[in-house]
Symmetry: C2
Subunit: 229 residues, 2 copies
């Protein structure tokens, strides 16, 4: 976890700490169930408790941690209910966004999308899952921006913490990245030809892929899930 303490601009510290902790949770570097303390994190990051606390409060809003007074802060386990909620939110927002993106995009927009696709293919072949995850977010975020409502992405992120952990855990599965790239291409193709219905259909299908791996993941990491049998 990296925090640039040289930059003391207003609020930058809290934002950095929030992003660093969120990424560590999504990537399971901070594994589900792990106990954290504000004091301990503050010391290891070389800051006071206040910005750490404010970052943790925001992560609690995102349901990525649970703060228990007098006991500590715990990285939450993946909740199937929260995954289902996030899936619902994601489908509703991103399918509506991609429709608008298909209706509004011009050639330059499509070229930019294809640029992201090209980089995804490079990273797919290299097996760099962290990098690929960033590029996955970048494509989805770009499509939301193209809809004229970038808020769809940033808002969905607030609910998508649990689903994002599942997304990240899915990446090492055999041929997973190949399928993801193939589906991304279908979406971008539909946006290119301005076919809103096809764009939505491809997006909906694509977003449901994530859930396909859920049972396997629960088998591999039963302790990561809160409703494990």
């Amino acid at each position: 976890m990296k925090i640039d303490r040289r930059v003391r601009r207003a609020g930058v510290m809290r934002a950095q700490i929030y992003a660093a902790l969120r990424d560590a949770i999504v990537s399971a570097e901070l594994e589900p169930g792990r106990q954290l303390s504000e004091q301990e994190l503050a010391e290891s990051l070389g800051v006071s408790r206040t910005p750490v606390r404010e970052a943790l409060v925001r992560l609690r809003d995102d349901r990525l941690v649970e703060i228990v007074p007098q006991l500590g802060t715990f990285v939450s386990r993946v909740s199937l209910a929260a995954v289902a909620d996030a899936q619902f939110v994601r489908e509703a927002l991103e399918c509506a966004a991609v429709r608008l993106a298909a209706e509004r995009s011009d050639r330059a927009d499509v070229r930019a999308l294809k640029g992201i696709l090209a980089r995804q293919e490079e990273v797919r072949d290299a097996g760099d899952f962290d990098r690929w995850y960033v590029l996955d977010d970048e494509l989805h975020s770009a499509l939301c921006e193209l809809s004229g409502h970038g808020v769809a992405w940033s808002l969905a992120q607030r609910a998508n913490g649990h689903l994002n952990r599942v997304r990240r855990m899915s990446l090492p599965q055999p041929r997973y990245l190949h399928e993801m790239v193939a589906e991304h291409k279908l979406i971008v193709a539909a946006v290119e030809r301005g076919d809103a219905d096809a764009a939505e259909e491809s997006m909906r299908h694509h977003l449901r892929m994530v859930l396909a791996a859920l049972d396997d993941l629960r088998g591999e990491h039963p302790d990561y899930f809160e409703d494990a049998g």
Copy 2:
């Protein structure tokens, strides 16, 4: 603005302050452009700066306030772009939710919805706008709960601050409440007969009503809007 300081349970203070400030902003009791200071709010509420600050940070996430270091905290003016964003989010989430609600609801569920409608009619006739606003939220929230994804409502609330202010300002307009109740009845009727398409159509139409009053409101309160000419 009411804060119950007798209740010192963990986190309750911040949650109360957040809700009180949000409601004061949505109702324009704290009017757009108004300068606030953490210290001043803390003194008037009889608490320290910390819970006030944490509530304000959350309100900043909701785009209801702007925090300017060294200068103060300002109640944000209504942004037409933010209203459009919120409208997009609301339509996407609530239309998807009402479809599921139509598919899943049973008789008891529909009875509960009709109970809310009945209370809305009483309040409509009494002209109690604050009370009506609460009941409006209650119906929409109940429909989201019926979809099985209550998160749709709570998440949308995070993006809907600006739109909610427009919703609240619209209420005094002649016959507005009558039209709202009539449209609520159409939605509940579609849910009752399990017609997902009709439920979505009615909801979409209903949600767009709010925007109808926008130009009039800008005429009445140009200083409440940030993009006023």
